[in-house]
């Protein structure tokens, strides 16, 4: 693996291999000594042009647990605020000896550009580009689902998501998590239904490998997991996507009543950060079927696996 840019880059075999490596990484994180020598001497640059707390910390923890050197670079207080381009920043990082770059950028396609423009030879991990993709988030969601749903497939992790039904609810339009999740979950054999008001579905969604619905109450009794997306008000500018927060919550918020519509075994997921009281109620977020905290710790294992596959072999940058 040279880059991880999109969930679509992974075929079923590749995705399962990454998730299996993540299982072993997760096992090492339960030990007293969590650090492994595997990436000693490698340098990972976290290049964050957009604010992010959990993703940046998660990647930083993952790289450090594998003994890589980590340089964190956030746009605030850097030359970017003086007008430096992505290209010049990339050249600078290469000159400093970076082996991999973890990139978060507000422009969709930024990671692809950095990887394929021929500016540098470093491996690129997309940590979220605009409203496009966030593949490691999709991988950690799949990892979490797979672990929780494996009992129903007879303990077999490989086929644990075959036929699983997942609802992705909320602001699909502004969500990079939704696109990556639809692609990856489909690759792993799950059926995905997007539930959102028509104003929050992207143009061309009918070409995505999933179904869409506007009726959350009808979808919930049928699913194995419901993934609630954050309403990204910072991307909504003047608004007009829904009449009011109260109406959004009434139609699409996951509250206690809707929680009880779910089948006994179904899980509640959220990529964080949550708007409690808007897309998810405290009762749903804190219920025993919520995997929200688990998703965060699984994120470190999944990112360790991605960095391992990107940097450990001879073909790595």
């Amino acid at each position: 693996m040279k880059h991880l840019l999109s969930a679509a880059d992974l075929d079923r075999e590749g995705a399962l291999a990454l998730l299996d490596v993540a299982e072993e990484m997760a096992a090492t994180q339960a030990r007293e000594i969590k650090k492994l020598p595997t990436l000693r001497g490698r340098t990972v640059v976290n290049l964050f042009f957009e604010d992010s707390t959990r993703t940046r910390i998660s990647f930083e923890a993952a790289a450090k647990r594998l003994s890589a050197d980590v340089i964190t670079f956030s746009a605030k207080g850097s030359s970017v605020s003086k007008g430096e381009s992505l290209k010049d920043t990339a050249l600078t990082l290469q000159a400093m000896g970076a082996d991999a770059v973890v990139l978060r950028h507000s422009a969709s396609g930024a990671a692809h550009r950095l990887a394929h423009a021929g500016w540098s030879g470093v491996g690129v991990v997309n940590a979220g580009d605009g409203t496009h993709e966030h593949p490691t988030q999709a991988l950690l969601d799949a990892f979490t689902l797979r672990r929780r749903l494996r009992e129903r497939s007879g303990g077999d992790l490989g086929g644990a998501l075959d036929g699983a039904r997942v609802a992705v609810v909320g602001d699909v339009l502004h969500s990079r998590v939704a696109r990556s999740n639809v692609l990856l979950l489909r690759t792993l054999g799950a059926d995905v239904t997007l539930v959102a008001p028509p104003t929050l579905l992207p143009v061309g969604v009918e070409a995505w490998p999933c179904r869409t619905s506007w009726d959350l109450d009808a979808v919930l009794p049928e699913v194995d997991a419901v993934m609630v997306l954050r309403v990204q008000r910072e991307r909504m500018g003047g608004g007009g996507f829904f009449p009011s927060a109260q109406e959004y919550t009434r139609r699409f918020g996951l509250d206690g009543r809707r929680l009880r519509l779910l089948p006994e075994h179904a899980l509640v997921m959220h990529p964080g950060p949550m708007n409690r009281g808007l897309e998810i109620s405290a009762e749903a977020a804190d219920s025993p079927r919520s995997t929200i905290v688990e998703q965060v710790s699984n994120g470190v294992a999944v990112r360790m696996a991605a960095l391992y596959l990107l940097l450990a072999g001879e073909d790595a940058a």
Binding site: E24, T28, R31, D315
Partner: protein, 206 residues
């Protein structure tokens, strides 16, 4: 394929493992505090077989599950950057852990000693055993590090260009140890080889 010759077959392998089980017990003066950790893929299966024989010989040794585990060394190897990226094997330590116990590492082929070096590092991340011993099915020489085995199934003097392959029922559908000469195709394993390539001497690793 013509000159790929089997040097050990199933009955001999079975006798060797029985002998190693008895040697381990003798050396340890019983089964107290013993933990057998096999190095995936084939070492893990060998460790389980030795543990089963050990329990059969010494009924007080306790259930096999509490005696045997596996120790993946991939992330501690020194040749990661010389090969394509590898899948990881499973590390499983029996419930009582390794602290203050006698750990017997089990692997199929001992050559350069680099795998064992990696295993010692991996083990020190899991705890502090009272002693560590090494049992291998085949010692083929060509050591590159100051490492020796405590229990050896068979010493196999080989040329560096030759390839030694251990086939096991659990992975390959049959038990055998095969030597093939330079430039020959390796005998086909019936199951996907996967991380077994680790045992190839071609890269000079073992």
């Amino acid at each position: 394929m013509a000159s790929a010759r089997p040097v050990l077959e199933a009955p001999e392998i079975s006798r060797i493992l029985t002998r190693i089980a008895h040697e381990v017990l003798e050396r340890n003066r019983g089964a107290d505090d013993l933990v057998l950790l096999g190095i995936p893929t084939r070492g893990a299966h060998l460790a389980r077989r030795v543990a089963e024989r050990l329990v059969a010989a010494e009924p007080g040794a306790g259930p096999v599950e509490e005696l045997v585990g596996s120790l993946d060394v991939t992330m501690h190897r020194d040749d990661l950057r010389r090969r394509p990226v590898r899948a990881l094997g499973r590390t499983h330590v029996p419930p009582r852990g390794v602290d203050d116990r006698v750990v017997v590492l089990v692997d199929d082929v001992l050559a350069s000693g680099r795998t064992v070096r990696a295993a010692l590092d991996a083990l020190s991340d899991l705890g502090r055993p009272r002693a560590v011993r090494l049992a291998v099915l085949v010692d083929r020489g060509h050591r590159q590090l100051p490492i020796r085995a405590d229990h050896v199934g068979k010493n196999l003097p080989t040329a560096a260009e030759e390839s030694v392959q251990v086939l096991l029922e659990e992975v390959d559908g049959q038990d055998a140890v095969v030597i093939s000469g330079p430039g020959e195709p390796r005998p086909p394993a019936t199951a996907p080889a996967g991380p077994a390539d680790r045992d190839e001497p071609a890269g000079g690793a073992r």
